[in-house]
């Protein structure tokens, strides 16, 4: 299926999480920290919030969200 990461179309297998999909876009980074560092999913289980992204217009955790066709995902921060 196709999802959009920062407006670029990315082809990903069905059933995977948005956190997993980042790797298909070439960089696993999910956000920039308040001092500008790149961060990527860290705990993988909804605890650390490093994977928070704008997903279909809402702030959600990439590690606890499954990809849906046409989903719009944006790196935050």
């Amino acid at each position: 299926m196709i999802i959009y990461l920062d407006q670029h179309a990315v082809e990903v297998p069905g059933g995977i999480t948005v956190a997993a999909a980042l790797a298909y876009a070439g960089s696993s980074a999910s956000r920039r920290s308040c001092t500008g560092q790149h961060r990527a999913p860290f705990c993988g289980m909804g605890v650390c919030q490093e994977c928070r992204m704008q997903i279909d217009g809402q702030r959600r955790l990439a590690c606890q969200t499954l990809c849906r066709p046409g989903m719009q995902v944006e790196r935050s921060g």
Binding site: T17, S33, C43, Q49, R52
Partner: protein
């Protein structure tokens, strides 16, 4: 129900081995239970599954109970607040609402103990179970070089998953000394089904008494520095999975007023907490593996549905797995050197980018939070507060609402959607 309020006789939080076992007991009694979990798929940590990773055989009958009415399963649902006794404020992707319950079983499980070391914020560095979870969620790993480090039997499980996904595990480093790991392995025969784990401990490339002192890279991980026998060497890798065992998730229990003991939810006979009508089972009451979690979940489910004799009959099995849990704790005790790995400029709080030096000067967690914003970010101190406990011995703060970041519309539900009465 209206749109704002839902009711149930029995609410089970967590769809891991403990929660599913409680749900099965409730289903047998025909009780209309609701099982709620923040993950999109059931199974908790150990039975996490996804494309290419089917749930293990023992999990399947338990997973299928979720589809059995009158049980209701709410995936992808988080608990935001406990505004009054018997009522939780919850939200899913679409909406927020109030969930009223008569009885509650907390099966919130455990998270990893993630401790700071130089470079731990680089993309490419994750927890140990975290790497496993990401791979089961579909993260490709083929051809990557992976280092697994930290402490506990989870290192082996995570390395196995990485290999299965096509990665090369270039090193496995366990901080506990060889003598302790060997004693643990030698004792495993006493618990059926654990012998394979003992064999895996003897695998080549598994180094006890060793740990990662630094992760290197600019925008992403490129290598790690590893200390073995007092010597430090550099190992090139694409990923580092590093965590130091598990800590119980106690935030919700604590918000409900349940007593804690030694960082876990305190329970008595029948898995009762100190709060009437609230039970707790599985790793939120102490880390001990999925077998212990299953027995405890079943005991809680049986007790909550009034089948006390059946619950009492499980006491022997319960005690046996508790002994295994104690063995686990003693074998992977943390070396004090691990708490010294962070440098003054290493970040402690990843949400607000607060360094160890900024926090270290304070006398306790509350004061450090007030002056540095450490622990005030999105994770609510679940990572840095837990690390500060290990580094400085500070006690945990009291959890405050919202328990997790929530939408403004959800926070408004308690006021506008009325009280728990409808």
């Amino acid at each position: 129900m209206n749109d704002w309020v839902d009711h149930c006789d029995l609410l089970i939080v967590g769809a891991g081995p403990a929660g599913l076992s409680a749900a099965q007991a409730a289903a047998e009694a025909g009780v209309a239970a609701v099982v709620l979990d923040d993950n999109p798929r059931p199974g908790g940590q150990v039975w996490r599954h996804g494309p290419g990773f089917a749930p293990p055989r023992p999990a399947r009958p338990l997973l299928s109970t979720l589809a059995r009415p009158p049980l209701r399963y709410l995936p992808g649902t988080r608990i935001v607040d406990a505004p009054e006794p018997g009522v939780l404020l919850v939200e899913d992707e679409q909406r927020g609402w109030l969930l009223r319950y008569r009885q509650l079983i907390l099966c919130c499980g455990a998270r990893e103990l993630l401790l700071p070391f130089p470079g731990w914020t680089l993309p490419g560095v994750t927890g140990v179970g975290a790497l496993q979870a990401l791979v089961k969620g579909g993260m490709p790993l083929r051809g990557e070089r992976v280092v697994v480090a930290g402490s506990g039997p989870l290192l082996l499980a995570s390395a196995a998953t990485a290999r299965q996904a096509g990665a090369t595990v270039v090193g496995m480093f366990e901080q506990a000394p060889l003598s302790q790991v060997r004693r643990f392995a030698l004792n495993l025969w006493r618990w059926p089904g654990k012998a394979a784990q003992a064999a895996a401990l003897a695998r080549r490339g598994y180094r006890p008494g060793a740990w990662v002192v630094e992760a290197l890279g600019t925008d992403a991980l490129q290598a790690v520095r590893v200390q073995t026998n007092g010597r430090v060497r550099t190992l090139v890798c694409d990923r580092l999975a590093c965590a130091f065992g598990l800590v119980a998730n106690t935030e919700l229990a604590s918000m409900l007023g349940c007593q804690l003991s030694a960082g876990t939810v305190a329970v008595g006979a029948g898995q009762r907490t100190s709060v009437e009508g609230v039970y707790a089972a599985g790793e939120c009451t102490g880390v001990g593996g999925n077998e212990l979690a299953r027995v405890e979940g079943r005991i809680a489910g049986l007790t909550a549905t009034g089948r006390h004799a059946e619950a009492a009959a499980l006491a022997g099995r319960h005690r046996r797995w508790q002994a295994f849990a104690r063995q686990l704790q003693a074998s992977f005790e943390l070396n004090p050197a691990i708490a010294q790995l962070a440098r003054p400029d290493t970040l402690l709080c990843r949400c607000e980018d607060v360094s160890v030096a900024e926090v270290a000067g304070h006398t306790g967690w509350a004061q450090a939070k007030l002056h540095t914003r450490c622990g005030m970010g999105a994770c609510q101190g679940r990572v840095c507060g837990t690390a500060a406990r290990a580094l400085f011995g500070w006690g945990p703060g009291n959890p405050r609402a919202p328990l997790v970041p929530a939408r403004v519309a959800t926070l408004g539900v308690y006021g506008t959607g009325g009280t728990g009465d409808d």
